[in-house]
Amino acid sequence: MVKIDFSFHSQYGTFADALHLPDDHGLTQDEINAMQQQRFDNWVAIITAPPTEETPSEEV
């Protein structure tokens, strides 16, 4: 398993996350960058959405 720490700095603060990928993941750096960006975008959507009692599920 490969662990890739990453973070994004935004007006809301720093988002710090990690990707855990199989050793043979075969992803390009662009694909990894896109996954990280998606994580950040999903997080921004969650923390900026009006609060609800239940959040929708996410498929990744």
Partner: protein, 358 residues
């Protein structure tokens, strides 16, 4: 303790169904339903071919020791309406091919330390850390609607934990450790951060600077409960931030100032103690410091100099021994004590003596 592997794709994880459980990856079915001491695995042999499959939990709560979903070659959905999942060990879900639709509470009830929580891209409905003596460290960002800390130590380990409705403490011995991580509370209203059970609640800074950031665009309240917060409290959203209780903070900041004006309001009659104060506004975006009601609050810092600016201050008593400089661009809204509405004096140039080495 035994290992249990999910097989045959779509099925029900109930208290009685053994068809979908095997003692080995891709092995024969019929193994017993996992107990709280058994590790459960979902892997490339859990589905039929590379097809998507759904594991629907029934008979709440489903229990296991370690929960590991890894190496999936088809999209797995973990489902269940109002079904809780209680994990006594570590929790791992993969970066891809995993969906969470179950709507119950995920309870982490380990009673030993060294457990890891790796949720990666999924968010949970409700998470409850409730194991006496338990210890969990994040290994990726963690997101849920409501996060409850009841018993044990929850270590952000430098990652981001986000609660979109509220963070709440419950009766028990619990600790929040930062190690450079940030707890985002994006909920609004009276209980966005609710230290409802401050007894036996501690915080640990660890390595680096930890932060609790209140980001809602509407009014939100930090219910401190009179505790010590070894972290920075950040006003990170447009909505006024109300702080209740006489609490102690390492620092207070306002990152929303780059976007607009906002407020930090304290409960009248409380004393908030700070090691550092770095909350300020910006030109045309003054940060309002005031009380919730028409009476004063007290801010205390033991030593040093507060060097703030672009504040609009009212009903605020600044004390403790530090020099509280509001800055030349701040406004005095009245009923203040201790604030100095100038910039702090320039650092001393010394006595003019110096040594020259050749």
């Amino acid at each position: 303790m035994a290992d249990r592997y999910w097989i045959l794709g779509t099925g029900t994880w109930s208290s009685t169904n053994t068809v979908n459980w095997s003692a080995s990856s891709g092995g024969a079915g019929g193994a017993s339903v996992p107990t709280a001491s058994d590790n459960v695995f979902f892997d490339a042999n859990s589905n039929v071919g590379i097809g998507a499959f759904t594991c629907t939990m029934a008979d709440t709560p489903r229990v296991c020791n370690d929960f590991t979903a890894s190496g999936l070659d088809g999209v797995m959905t973990l489902a269940g309406s109002s079904i809780g999942l209680t994990v006594s060990g570590s929790f791992f879900t993969p970066a891809t091919n995993f969906s969470r639709t179950y709507t119950g509470t995920t309870t982490f009830n380990a009673t030993t330390t060294g457990k890891t929580i790796t949720t990666q891209a999924i968010s949970l409905i409700s998470g409850n850390f409730n194991g006496v003596g338990g210890g969990w460290s994040l290994a990726s960002a963690f997101t849920c609607s409501t996060l409850t800390l009841t018993n044990g130590t929850f270590d952000l380990a430098g990652y981001t934990s986000s609660s979109s409705v509220r963070f709440v403490t419950a009766g028990g011995t619990k600790n929040l450790t930062f190690n450079g991580g940030t707890l985002f509370c994006s909920g609004s209203g009276a209980f966005a951060f609710n230290n409802a059970a401050p007894s036996n609640f501690t915080t640990t800074a660890g390595i680096g600077t930890g932060t609790i950031s209140m980001t809602a665009a509407t009014a939100k309240t930090f219910v401190g409960g009179g505790s010590t917060f070894n972290c920075t409290l950040n006003q990170g959203g447009a909505g006024a931030l109300t702080i209740t209780g006489s609490n102690t903070f390492s620092n207070i900041t306002n990152t929303y100032k780059v976007t607009g004006a906002t407020s930090i309001l304290f409960t009248a009659g409380t004393t908030s103690t700070f090691t550092d104060w770095n909350a300020s506004g910006e030109s045309t975006r003054l940060l309002t410091i005031g009380s919730v009601t028409a009476a004063s609050h007290t801010l205390s810092k033991a030593s040093g100099t507060v060097s703030s600016d672009f504040l609009s201050i009212s009903r605020s008593t600044a004390t403790g021994g530090a020099g509280w400089y509001a800055g030349a661009n701040s406004t005095d809204g009245g009923n203040n004590l201790g604030w100095i509405f100038t910039a702090p004096p320039a650092p001393s140039a010394g006595n003019g003596n110096f040594l020259v080495f050749f």
